[in-house]
């Protein structure tokens, strides 16, 4: 029973991992930019949700009306900057590392390094849960999973069915050739940066519902989220979703059966095994690349 509960909770939490990783994966796959600042955007999204919900007594989910556009602009601006600097894949890692450090310090200066959490009054989701038999699912994880599934489905459809999606896949495969056939790389990448920023707002909101915030949380996401990106296959949205669930289940079950301390080891070993056996990612079935 314990293991079944841990597995199912892991599946749902995996949705949050996938939500955080999807944007990172797509920018890496399509634009060849490893955007560590994405973690910073998620962090800001989470703090904004906390701040707006707390001071204006808004329902935390409704704060998306403000945070999504704000993060869209932030994401687009960062992407515009990357485009201007003409960075290589590797240098993008360094520049965005610098940006991430700045963002974390700024959040720390604004909201202090202490833990911040929405009070039970402003955040009705934290205490609710759905029970099926003896299995209990917190509403926050259901929400995370639902949003992740929605985002992944939408991204998949956009990349497969629409002109912009096909253009992005063309950019991912060969930027120069795509440009020669009239794909406006600049505009598309800024647009994509904006959309990815918007997903950061979603992920931040979901995270703030069930967790206390401190600026350093951004670092704690690193390991798990990159595990998801690499396992899922860089640039593969559906693969990212599957990998998120796998990682969620793996950490959940290992924590429940063995010990939470063992989870990082298992995860790390999983990444290495995956890289050894399937360098293109476990779930690479044909996303943007």
């Amino acid at each position: 029973m314990n293991v079944i509960q841990a597995t199912l909770t892991g599946v749902l939490i995996g949705g949050l991992y996938a939500l955080m990783a999807a944007g990172l994966s797509v920018t890496w796959g399509v634009l060849r930019i490893i955007n560590l600042a994405h973690f910073g955007l998620i962090l800001i999204g989470a703090y904004l949700t906390f701040q707006i919900a707390t001071s204006w007594h808004l329902d935390p989910v409704l704060t998306l009306v403000i945070t999504v556009p704000a993060m869209f602009i932030a994401g687009a601006a960062i992407q515009w900057l990357f485009d201007r600097l003409r960075l290589t894949e590797f240098n993008s890692l360094l520049v965005s590392f610098g940006l991430l450090i700045i963002i974390i310090q700024v959040t720390s200066n604004i909201w202090s390094a202490d833990f911040r959490r929405m009070s039970a009054g402003t955040n009705p989701y934290a205490t609710q849960s759905v029970a099926i038999g003896r299995l209990v699912f917190p509403v926050t994880t259901l929400l995370a999973f639902g949003l992740a599934a929605l985002v992944v489905l939408a991204a998949h459809l956009v990349l497969r069915r629409t002109f912009a999606g096909r253009a992005m896949r063309a950019i991912a495969q060969d930027r120069a050739v795509a440009g020669a056939f009239g794909v406006d790389h600049r505009r598309l990448s800024v647009l994509l940066g904006g959309v990815v920023g918007a997903t950061a707002a979603l992920a931040g909101m979901v995270f703030s519902l069930s967790n206390a915030l401190t600026p350093d949380t951004a670092y704690e996401w690193f390991g798990t989220v990159f595990a998801v990106v690499i396992l899922g296959g860089i640039g593969e949205v559906v693969g990212t979703f599957a990998a998120g669930i796998l990682v969620g289940v793996l950490s959940g079950v290992v924590s429940a059966v063995w010990s939470p301390a063992a989870a990082p080891f298992v995860l790390f070993s999983a990444i290495i095994l995956a890289l050894l056996l399937r360098p293109q990612g476990l779930f690479a079935v044909g996303g943007v690349r």
């Binding site: 590797f90 700045i102 720390s108």
Partner: protein, 677 residues
Amino acid sequence: MIRRGGIGLLVAFLVLVAVGAFSDQLGLSSFYLILLGSICFWIAQATSWNILSGYSGYFSFGQAAYVGVGAYTTAVLSGRHGVNFFLTVPLAALLCGLLALGVGAVAFRLGSLRGEIFALLTLAVPFILAAFARINRSVDGGQGTTVPIPEVPDAFGALPQFQYLLALLIAAIAVAAAYAIQHSRTGSALAAIRDAEDVAEVMGVATFRYKMLAMLISGVLGGAAGSVYALQIGFVTVESVFGLTIPLFVIVMGVLGGRTHWLGPVIGAVLIVTLQDRLSSYGLDAWNSIILGGILALLVAVSPDGLYARLRARPLAALGALVVVSGGLAVLNAWGEVLDWLVVGMLVASLLAIVLGSRWATAWLRRGRPAAVPDEAATATADDVTVPGDAAGDAVPAGSAESTVPAGAPGSGAPGDAEIEAGETGASRGADQLGAVLVECRQVARYFGGVHALEDVTLDIRAGELVGLVGPNGSGKTTLINLLSGAFRPTRGVIRLDGRDITRLAPHKIAHVGMARTYQIPRPFDSMTIRDNVAMAVMFGPESLPLNRARPIAEQHLATVALDHLADAYPADLNLHQRQLLEMARAVASNPKVLLLDEALAGLNPAEVDNAVRVVRRIHESGITIVIVEHLLRVLNQLATRLVVLDRGTCLADGEPQTVLNDPAVIRAYLGRQAHV
């Protein structure tokens, strides 16, 4: 060989020791000693990072693992188990060395490892260690550990002095190691790995071993410095030693100072630590990370090669700025104290060096002197391709980009007319000298997933042959070259070179048995001069030579391809033809029995083809067996002693060029139904 840098390093060390030893007499407060100690710690860490990440190009984001494990070893052993502090330092170094070897053994075995993946893997290591330390309370008792002050021999004076001298010693060892590595064989190997790793491997550099060596040295130094750091901070917690600020600091220092030179991280560490100290003293701690992050982001975009190169280009301007600004502030004496003046002076000097070295400034300074440099370059490229001592009338200036062959000159018209007519004798001469079987391929196959790139190719190449390998695009020519040189391993089959089974050998070992190759798109080591590019092949060839003995030999090889006058230039200054000649010189310099030329004539104009053909023939006549992949059948018809035709991964024809080219099956597969040769 004693170098200036080494002497400078020794003098600096002695002066700094004297500063520590006589700090009382000099009137230095312990504040300065602690600051100097902190600078020394960061010099050691940044240098440790640079030996791996700067030299080899594999950026590590995991420096905190060494600091953490080093500091924890000392804190836990001496603080909780009463082990002598001086014993814990080598223990910490040992542990970190083992950790580095473990991470390296896993990471560098990954077939798909790229720089980004390495960075992310190393990023994960301190996280995992920190999680381990945080969750297993038995390690540090849960709250962190106080580091007891060791018994210091009286000769070292008070504790601040002792801490400083200890940190200085570690920093000096680290910098000396970085200096020694840079001027050694290992340094050359790491630079080659940074520039073009697989090329280095195929040339004979045991890349895995050198990367592991760099990892090990980096780990040992990082661990020892981390252990001393525990004493410096006095109280060790997970947050203080495993945090992300440590990789941030060392990366910023390396990128700021310059990653390819041993002095780079030293410059970076001095600047960053003093700047941090000043910011803290003015209560701007909250701005520390913001400024550091900003510096990193800006530098990568504006001056990725770092301060060292810029300072070296304009030492006087920078020194002048430092003296004027710091001196000026001191004279005015209106604000701050000595350290403030120094920091402002250093910042201005660095800024000046960066700005003066930037593209806009260079363009602006040169505005009065038009086009002098391009002219020189044009002359250089114009006469380098003419081969000295060759037959009169061959002196066709072919190197410059717009070179159309002068009308009426010999060699105009179809590629290689004059030269190839003369070549018939060369070909038949080669055929007379056929020796024993040198390369044997037995039913070699290579699949890429479901694609059968090569299927049961059986082929013998005898010593002295010049085999032309032809076939339509996608027929498996380059795959065969990659299998022979060891870049890929065959799915099935056996390859022997000189009687030795090389099927499963690492590429650098195949190179030592006697195989060399060139690349269709030339891949020189961009950070090295043309001479050193070739010298690398000599150094890491079958008999290893030191750099200073390899260089004269390299020059001989450059003379063979008529590039000797460009020995001091860098690959970026060469045109395509010259780069391809460089590829050939480099391949020949590794003293091979068999030379594989992968489309060495592709993209050349007719005159350049003539010249390249001449060079190939000269190499062949020097006794090297050659396999050449080429599409110009006219050239191969005359140059090769034998043609092998591949079609869809199988061997379609094999024999005398004339016979093969008249084979109806070959004509159908390669040239289409209607073609005539």
